[in-house]
Amino acid sequence: MKHVLWLVLKRALASVVTILVISLIIFIGVELLPGDVAETVLGQSATPETVKAFRKELKLDLPPHVRYFTWLKDFVQGDFGNSLANGRPVFGLITWRFANTLFLAATAAAIAVPLAVILGILAALYRNSLFDNAISTTTLSFISFPEFFIAYILIGVFSVQFNVFPSLAAISPRMNFGEKLYTILLPALTLTAIVTAHMMRQTRAAIINVLASAYIEMAELKGIRRLRIIVQHAFPNALSPVINVIAVNLAYLVVGVVIVEVVFVYPGLGQLLVDSVSKRDIPVVQASGLIFAATYVTLNLLADILSMLSNPRLRKTH
């Protein structure tokens, strides 16, 4: 057990270093901005005085390393600076949108994970049957489709033809949980279609991989029933790769949400990021980018830790 703990610790440390380096890259990226942020934002007509005041407000008059540490310290304390577009604090802009993004991703995950695991196990069980081929072809095409294609097909069918779900996921804090779910069902279904395809294919591959091992053949030769082989022999060993697949896809879900949010005009962090990129609202881009990156790295870390803990071989070595 000590061995695993050490592995987990090492892995967590690597993630912290990764996030720090990413924050440095984000910071340097803005440093490299051609010209001066102040001049870019204020435009050609700005007087030297306004540029100077603006530079002071962004703390551009300090040396770079001092600014990096101040920025990082403020960031950790929840002070993300002010938006260049409307002067409001970035923190307030981001928190409610980030909660929305997580809500959408969680809803999609709640539908996609059980669906993908069940389909994956079934496809592996009835390998090379009609069912398996049908599922493989469907998922392969879903992987090839751009996200917005699936999204617009769903809009076309469910909100234009049958008019049962709204095409705009205009969520508001006043709604109760049921109303919120109803509003975001179409975007959640779009995300489900995309991640289920990936997760199901990988689950199928993981289980087929385990089913090919010698001990499964041994169990078969002993005459154990197929269901028992799967539950008692194959599943514990397939669990580790499957958990890993799920967590990696959840990380993808949180990031892949960007396009879907734009299609459905959903007030999430992804939409804010895209808007801020076209407006070149740097503080908002920095903050939302770092939050996305941190979430992504954390979920990937979780994936690795869970698969370490659920791997019987790693657990038993001392």
Binding site: L140, S144, I259
Partner: protein, 272 residues
């Protein structure tokens, strides 16, 4: 090669047909398209009729002509990006494998960190800093995507690097560049070609996504992702023309995937 083609399964032939159709459309765009790329020829969002096969777009331009020109822009852009990404990835990956030691360590750790960062978010942040133009778009995506190519080409080159013929060439006194070019590259081709197909799909969808977000080719140039964005409003009126460019993207990606699938199966010796 011809024998291999004759033995190809139906799915791969469909894939090749799709890719060929797209390439021919892209090459002969000015001949095929009945109207100009940016010419306003009709009313806004006209439906399918004998004059306009696919109807018209949000400014009254012929959608069919724009899709034909869009094939040219979109495919050329994705192809150029993938090619650039492969040259970066292969050169760095081979360098890391042949030189080993510190070069390998430093390169691999940098690549690890870039890969830990979600690609779309990274691309959005870079484009927000450098501004979106065709060149920055191609360069950004190529750099981000080359990390995957680096991983593969390094792993493949590692296996080849320990072979006797490489050792022999090394003892002959050949330089690193020569080793990479004449000994490793020819032997690393099969996995790299399959990867090229996969990366092309990924880059193609990625550019489509960025164009859809308004950060790809700038109007009035036609590209499929951007066309979906421009015409998306029509869907709420029950006009489905914006789905056509999106379907074209899906169509080409499925085609390339079918070929890659077959190629991988042949290369891996028909494993399950």
């Amino acid at each position: 090669m011809l024998k291999l083609l004759r033995q190809s399964p139906l799915s791969a032939r469909i894939g090749m047909g799709i890719v060929l159709l797209n390439i021919l459309t892209a090459i002969f765009a000015p001949i095929i398209a009945p109207y100009g790329e940016t010419k306003v020829v009709g009313d806004v969002w006209e439906l399918f009729n004998s004059q306009f096969f696919f109807g018209t777009d949000h400014l009254g331009r012929d959608l069919f002509s724009r899709m034909v020109f869009g094939a040219r822009n979109t495919i050329a852009l994705a192809f150029a990006t993938t090619a650039l990404s492969f040259s970066f990835g292969i050169v760095l990956g081979f360098f890391a494998a042949t030189l080993g030691g510190w070069t390998d360590q430093i390169l691999s750790r940098i690549i690890d960190i870039i890969m830990a960062f979600p690609t779309l978010i990274f691309a959005l942040m870079i484009l927000s800093v450098v501004g979106s133009s065709v060149y920055s778009l191609v360069f950004t995506i190529a750099v981000l995507d080359s990390t995957r190519v680096y991983r593969l080409s390094r792993a493949v080159a590692m296996d080849i690097e320990v072979m006797e013929f490489v050792e022999a060439a090394r003892l002959r006194g050949e330089g690193v560049w020569w080793l990479m070019r004449h000994e490793i590259l020819p032997n690393a081709m099969p996995p790299l070609v399959a990867e090229f197909g996969l990366r092309f799909c990924f880059v193609f969808l990625f550019i489509a996504a960025l164009s859809f977000l308004g950060l790809g080719l700038q109007p009035p140039a036609a590209d499929w992702g951007g066309m979906v964005r421009e015409n998306a409003g029509a869907i709420t009126f029950g006009i489905y023309t914006p789905l056509l460019p999106a379907a074209a993207i899906a169509f080409l990606t499925v085609g390339v995937n079918l070929i890659v699938d077959w190629f991988l199966r042949v290369a891996s010796g028909l494993k399950d």
